[in-house]
Each structure stands twice: as C-alpha cells, then as structure tokens.
C-alpha cells in the first residue's frame, strides 16, 4: 500500500475535521475517503457538506483551532499532516494551486495584475539557475495571460483588479495559479460569482488548461450538473460524508437518494412542473457511513 503513489496524486483516507464551538466540537468532515490521479474530480455538496473544508485540509489552510485527523492525507506521497511548514509552502501555490470564488477578494487591490502574476512566478522560480529576473517574470506573466485567453494581455498586465470584469479577474487568478506550473489545481466554486455565459467559458478554459498540462483538477461546487459536465468523476458529499462516488457520465443513473433528490429539485426550462419535488433528508444516510 505504501509505495502506491504512482497513480495517486491525492490520497485521502478517513479524514475527519472538527471545529471548536462553545460547547465542544462541530464535525465538519466525518471520515471521508477518496483518491484521485491526474484527472478531473468534482466534489459536490450543499453548503455545510464539508466540501470546501476537504480542499482546505489538503492544503493545510484550515484555522489553527480546527482539529484535523486522518488515517492518510497525502499529496503525491507527501504526508500533509506530518509535513513541515516549509514543505507546505512549496506545495501551496507551488505544486497545488487554489482558485477561489470571488476574484474581487482574492486579488490584491493595490497591485497591478502584472505584478501579482510576476510575483507568483518569481516566488516559485527564483531557485532556478540564473532565472528569476524581473524581465523574465514579466514575459512569463504575459504568456500566462495569453494562455488564459485574455484578448489584450499587454493592457491587462498594467491594470488594477478593480479595472477588470469578474470573468477577467477570474482568468487573472487562474493565470496566477498556473505560474508555478502546479500538479493539482483546486477550484473552489470558481464561477459562482459569475454570469452563466462567463461561467461556461471559464470552466472550459480550466478544463482545457488542465488537460493540456496534464494536471489534476479538484472542482468543488454546489452545482451538480455543471460539475458533471466538466469532470471525469464526481464525489457527492452530504453533512461531512461521501454519499456516492460515480463517473460523471453516469450521473443520470445515480443510485443514492440524495444525489437523485439534488438533480430532481431544480426547476427546469424543458419540463414544466407546478411544484418542485423537495428533498427529504434521511437520517439513515448518515448512519450507514458513520
């Protein structure tokens, strides 16, 4: 088992995350297990399902107070829970990129886009022989902006985050995360703040980049059909547990009542219904996994 990281980029076994509250601990993640290679994995669930916490745990980005336990929490064979802070720094933003929901809050408002991308590039290329020049970083930033299909990369390079639209901001964010050439991209609700038309473009962009660079993608979202369209495999989470894991193309054949319920309760343009079916939450869903 130990030498088996050849295919697995991420290996999670029995991950548990608790947050302290005034009267003890709240269980955010209760014993989930899955693994992924260089593929596109979707993690879907409603708010409070623990999907984001799982992504953060993998990068060790949870608050100090959180209690994280796991039988195994490995990234490319590295034990994330046992790794030194120094080792984690090379992982975070280096080998693992994180794209968050709203570029408005994740970009530095007083720094130009170009500088932010260059800094990201410099931070992880400085060790290279002779490399790490300012000029080189700028060129790299320009190339990256071209790669995220920004039409006028020269102009965007010199602009501030508030001068670009939401979709553009998210592209910049992606460019920044791609700068160190990561092995895994974690996208946490990357398009929830964007219009539907932009949403599709951004996800298509992420999909293309991930495929072209042979990275792994962990797409965390509440939107089941959306995730299914862009991923190979889907993990459905509810109340900190994995309900079901299935290939994305088999989503319409999902077995679990929760997955089916989620798919069914959305209003639809194609079929008219007087009332929407609502989800009846079954306590047995949790017992089976506990």
């Amino acid at each position: 088992m130990s030498g088996m990281n050849n295919g697995n980029l991420v290996e999670i076994r029995d991950l548990r995350v608790d947050f302290p509250n005034p009267s003890g601990f709240t269980q955010a993640v209760r014993g989930i297990s899955f693994s992924m290679g260089r593929e596109k994995l979707g993690i879907v669930g409603e708010s409070g399902s623990g999907k984001s916490v799982t992504g953060r745990a993998l990068m060790r980005l949870l608050p100090q107070a959180a209690r994280v336990r796991a039988e195994a929490l490995r990234f490319d064979g590295i034990d994330v829970l046992g790794a030194s802070e120094r080792q984690m720094r090379t992982l975070r933003g280096g080998r693992i990129g994180l794209i968050m929901q709203d570029p408005k809050y994740s970009l530095n408002p007083v720094m130009t886009v170009g500088r932010q991308i260059s800094e990201a590039w410099l931070a992880h290329n400085r060790s290279g022989s002779g490399g790490g020049g300012k000029r080189e970083a700028r060129d790299a930033a320009l190339t990256l902006l071209e790669q995220v299909r920004i039409r006028d990369p020269k102009r965007v390079l010199g602009s501030y985050p508030h001068e670009v639209s939401g979709g553009m901001g998210q592209r910049v964010m992606i460019a920044m995360m791609l700068a160190p050439n990561p092995d895994l991209l974690i996208a946490d609700e990357p398009t929830s703040a964007l219009d539907a038309s932009v949403q599709a473009e951004i996800l298509k962009l992420i999909e293309d980049l991930v495929s072209a660079r042979g990275m792994g993608l962990m797409l965390i979202s509440h939107d089941l059909p959306l995730v299914a369209r862009f991923c190979d495999r889907v993990v459905v989470m509810y109340a900190g547990q994995v309900m079901e894991e299935l290939p994305a193309r088999d989503l319409h054949r999902a077995q679990h009542a929760y997955t089916r319920g989620l798919l069914d309760c959305m209003p639809s343009l194609s079929k008219k219904r007087a009332r929407l079916p609502t989800l009846t939450r079954d306590a047995a869903w949790l017992e089976r996994h506990a």
Binding site: A196, L251, S268, T278
Partner: protein, 249 residues
C-alpha cells in the same frame, strides 16, 4: 387587458451619478400576475426593482402602482401595498434583532393591532417552527432566514411583492422549498409579483410573462410558453435560452 394593470412602468430611466443604468424601460403587470425580469449582472434588472420600491432616488419616467402615480417620495400607504424580498437572506435581516422583533416592526410602523396573533400566524404561513420566533438571524439556516424575510414582507398584507433573486443565495434543495412556498403564497393571497433572476429556469417556473434585459434596456418581452418553446426573437434571449439548456445537461 380589460382592467387597469397593477403595475405600469413607462419610459423609466435611472441614473447613478453620471452612469445611465436603466434606459427607457416600459412594461406592465396585471393584477395577480407574476412578471419576470431576467438578464446578466449589470443589465439593470435589480435596479428597476429597487427603483419601483423607492430605494433609488434618481429616476425619470412614469411609474404607477394600482393606478396611482409614484412620486419621488413614497408614503406609508405605498409600503403597505408593496413589499420586497431581497437576494441575500444573510444581509437582509437585522443582525441584532430577533425574528419576533423583525416581524413586529412593520406592524408597529403601520399601527396594526393584535401583533401577537399576526406574528404567530405569519410564522405558520411560511412553515417556520414556533421555536424560531425568539431566535436571532445568525441562529437560523439560509432557507429559514429567507422564510423570515418572506414573512416580514407579507405580514402587513401587501398586494404587490417584489422579489430580488430570492433564491440565488440558497442551495438547490432549499431553493425548491422556497419556490414552492412562494407559489403557494401567491395563490393564497392573490399577489402581484415581479421576480428578478439571472436563472431562466427559475423565472419560467414562477412567471407568466418575462422581460429580457441587456445593458439597461429591455430587449424582448415574451410569455412563459414562448420561452419554453424557444420562440425568442432577440439573439440575446436565444443565447440565454441555449445556455440554460446547456447547463441543464
């Protein structure tokens, strides 16, 4: 249309400082009808709603509710007739007031008696447990908060309900519950509604007619049947419909 429309908007323009956000918009909503406003962010759909509600001062044109022209300031009677539900249930409830206090406020303002019974009835109507009454908003889930917001809007018996993306901050399962609640309440109270949303499926689910907005203008007004049949004339509407089908999978 035999009788007067409940809401009539003619040549509405809205300016924020120097930017022209809503340009020459006209539409009308019959009594008991639910009208949708759909568009992408920045299309001006929410601005139209807030302007009708009296929350934006800088507008030109004519707006009338129940045959009465609206002036720059709204009187108390207007707020008795027209109410609004906001997008973000986390932001639209006062963080330091209990549900009880939030629901009592409209009753106090309008001098409505038997607050006790009305609050209890309002909670029942939106299917909130009685135990929620003395809780603070932060002790409730997103869906419960939106139910409180709906209860507040309805507690003084308005006839017009303005809905600003009422479900877009909610999980899909909670969205289904809130949409069902809204259609039940609309039925029971004969409400006239304007629903703003970016989600065509949500609009189609609740509305009889809808206007598609782009860049501050209405590009097309069509019926729900026309929408579902894909009989849209304007290319922007066609794009939105295509996208919506694509995302449904």
């Amino acid at each position: 249309m035999s009788q007067l429309p409940m809401i009539a908007i003619e040549h509405l323009d809205v300016h924020f400082g120097s930017s022209h956000v809503v340009r020459d918009i006209s539409f009308s909503v019959a009594a008991g009808e639910t009208f949708g406003l759909v568009g992408e962010s920045g299309s001006g759909k929410s601005t139209v709603l807030r302007t009708i509600a009296g929350l934006n001062p800088g507008w030109d044109g004519r707006m009338a509710v129940a045959g009465q022209n609206l002036g720059p300031r709204r009187d108390r009677a207007f707020f008795r007739r027209v109410q609004m539900v906001f997008q973000d249930p986390y932001g639209s409830l006062h963080p330091r007031q209990t549900v009880d206090r939030i629901l009592a406020e409209p009753l106090e303002v309008h001098g409505i008696a038997d607050a006790e019974a009305r609050i209890a009835r309002a909670l029942e109507e939106v299917a909130l447990p009685h135990t929620a009454r003395f809780r603070y908003p932060h002790q409730l889930s997103g869906g419960q908060r939106q139910r409180v917001a709906i209860a507040r809007a309805l507690i003084a018996d308005p006839s017009v309900l303005l809905l600003d993306e009422p479900t877009s901050a909610l999980d899909v399962s909670v969205q289904a519950e809130v949409l069902n609640l809204l259609s039940d309440l609309r039925e029971a109270r004969q409400l006239t509604c304007i629903l703003v949303s970016h989600n065509l499926a949500v609009i189609a689910h609740l509305c009889e007619r809808l206007a598609v907005m782009q860049g501050g203008r209405i590009v097309e007004i069509l019926s729900e049947a026309e929408l579902r049949a894909g009989r849209a004339k304007h290319s922007h509407t066609q794009d939105l419909i295509a996208l919506s089908y694509e995302l449904e999978g």
